[in-house]
Amino acid sequence: MYIAQVITNGILLGSVYALLGLGMTLIFGIVKQTNLAHGVFIVLGAYLSSVLAPVLGIDPIFTLFLTVPLMFLFGFVLQYFLIGKAMQKGNEPALLVTFGLSIILQDAMLLIFTADAQHITAAYSVANFDIFGLKVSVLNVVLFCISLVTIGALWLFLNRTYIGRAIRATSDNPEAASLAGVSVKKIYAIAMGIAMASAAVAGLCVGMKWTFYASSGGSYLLIAFVVVVIGGLGSVPGTLIAGLLFGLAQVIGGANYGLLISYVILLIVLVVKPQGILGKKV
């Protein structure tokens, strides 16, 4: 029974980890760029939800209707006017620009929201229910559903819509795609917008699950890295599987060594099989 409990918790937790890596894997796969600001974007999403929910007096989940479009716009503008410009100068300047962005945003949030711990509470934050003798937290199930819906929606979007096809074409070969009439610059901006939107969802989830600080971006970024690298850069299903595996490892490793384990896993995968377990493009 204990093992079943651990596996259940691991899977529920893992879906949130997958969500953390989702935006990053998109940028890896489509824009071929490392977005070092992704962790800070997630924290931004968490703050937006935590501020909006009490102001509007609604359940935190419904703040997504506001934060997702807002963050999409932010990401679009950022990529179109800033990161895209840096990418013309090479990979490394772009990497440094995202690094600079993460530092700027993090300290700006520190100024606005102070260094205090934050948490997004909902009516069902501490509720539990029993099923087949397992104790399951309502919150975890809600987050699990949000994650699955988000990942599923993104997968459908990439595979079933015109823009999704254009995105995949650009990811395969930007030059050929632009010859076929796809505006690569715009696609990159849309991809960054989607990544930011997913960061908004991820932010809500981590904000409801754990306490967060303005300086939490670094640890979310590292979790995202682990998930992205293990799942194979740019693979959406790979991200889900990697997230679940990682969640299981965390639950088994316990709270004290969870973070250390994640770093070690990441290093081993980077050294042994850098293309990831399911190394395939979007």
Partner: protein
């Protein structure tokens, strides 16, 4: 790269004897100013910072500017050296000099071990991995009882070195670092590094032993960052995971090199001086300093990608202390 300069833009290499002698005079003058006691404590405080940040900048420049290793984790060696000095002096009551020596040895050994892991990766993977390694050590030190966990350790030596001693020490290490970098660039390794700077993929095809060059640079960087890190910690008197292993060190190194001029010898010197004065000025606006530094760095990357020294060199067709052997006349 795609911006090959046409023949008429050949630049003069400025490293003639008079210039070298000029540099030596400047260094002797700096020692003279310190020993004669003209420099007030406030001036020395600035000097210490500038000397140490020059070391950090030159090392990051070697790594990223020449060898194509954009490390986001050099703070690892600052933390390690700081902790080694603290443990040596406070726990084992060793003299300060031994502590610094031990710090350098520890960093050399760790850098050799790390190179085994890190050199399997390139580009952004390398950057990510260096950061992860630094974070890993930070987490580990955070929970390690022997080094005081999160609250860290203080440096306890009697008599505690005065501002003057620390200043002389940092000047000496800084001169040492500059001499080593200069000598390195004058050797065959320097030519190889310059080739790697200009085109990392083409360099091996003309016989540059990439891994060997990277190893030399990575270990030298670890050694001198260990020197600088020990003095930083002695100057501060305390080390804890959040100031030893903070990503802030990398932020400052990137700023210094990008603003000064990447892949140039004198760029980091200019960058370090700007950084220290800017940092000092920004201290009046608590919380804003990293925001402003970040914005400046991004603006420089976008609009002045060669940095201050790099842009001047291109505009005025000269190179200070370049690895190039031949000096072309300005215009034929």
């Amino acid at each position: 790269m795609n911006k090959l300069s046409p023949a008429k833009h050949r630049s003069r290499v400025l490293d003639s004897m008079p210039l070298l002698i000029g540099c030596i005079v400047v260094i002797i003058a700096l020692y003279g100013v310190l020993i004669s006691g003209i420099a007030s404590n406030n001036v020395m405080r600035y000097m210490i910072q500038i000397f140490l940040y020059i070391i950090l900048g030159e090392m990051w420049n070697l790594l990223s500017g020449y060898a194509g290793m954009t490390s986001l984790g050099q703070q690892l060696y600052i933390g390690l050296s700081g902790y080694t000095v603290a443990v040596a002096t406070s726990t084992f009551k060793l003299p300060l000099g031994t502590g610094i020596l031990l710090a350098v040895i520890v960093c050399t050994v760790i850098s050799l071990i790390m190179s085994l892991i890190l050199f399997r990766m390139e580009g952004m993977y390398f950057s990510i991995a260096t950061w992860v390694v630094a974070e890993m050590f930070s987490t580990f030190f955070f929970s390690w009882k022997f080094v005081g966990q999160g609250s860290g350790m203080t440096i306890r030596v009697t008599p505690y070195p005065k501002m003057f001693d620390i200043c002389i020490l940092s000047l000496t290490f800084c001169v040492g670092a500059l001499v080593i970098v200069y000598m390195l660039l004058r050797t065959k390794i320097g030519l190889g590094l310059t080739a790697m700077r200009d085109d990392i993929t083409a360099a091996p095809s003309v016989g540059v032993d990439q891994i060997g060059h990277k190893l030399v640079v990575y270990v030298i960087a670890a050694v001198f960052i260990a020197f600088a890190g020990s003095v930083f910690v002695i100057n501060k008197g305390i080390i804890y995971p959040d100031n030893g292993f903070t990503i802030g060190w990398t932020v400052s190194m990137i700023f210094i090199v990008v603003v000064g001029g990447k892949g140039t010898f004198s760029g980091p010197i200019v960058g370090a001086i700007i950084y220290v004065f800017l940092q000092e000025y920004l201290a009046h606006f608590p919380g804003w300093s990293n925001i402003i530094l970040g914005i400046i760095t991004i603006l420089v990357i976008l609009f002045l990608p060669d940095g201050i020294v790099g842009t001047l060199q291109k505009k005025l067709h000269f190179e200070l202390f370049s690895a190039k052997r031949i000096s072309f006349p300005k215009e034929r």
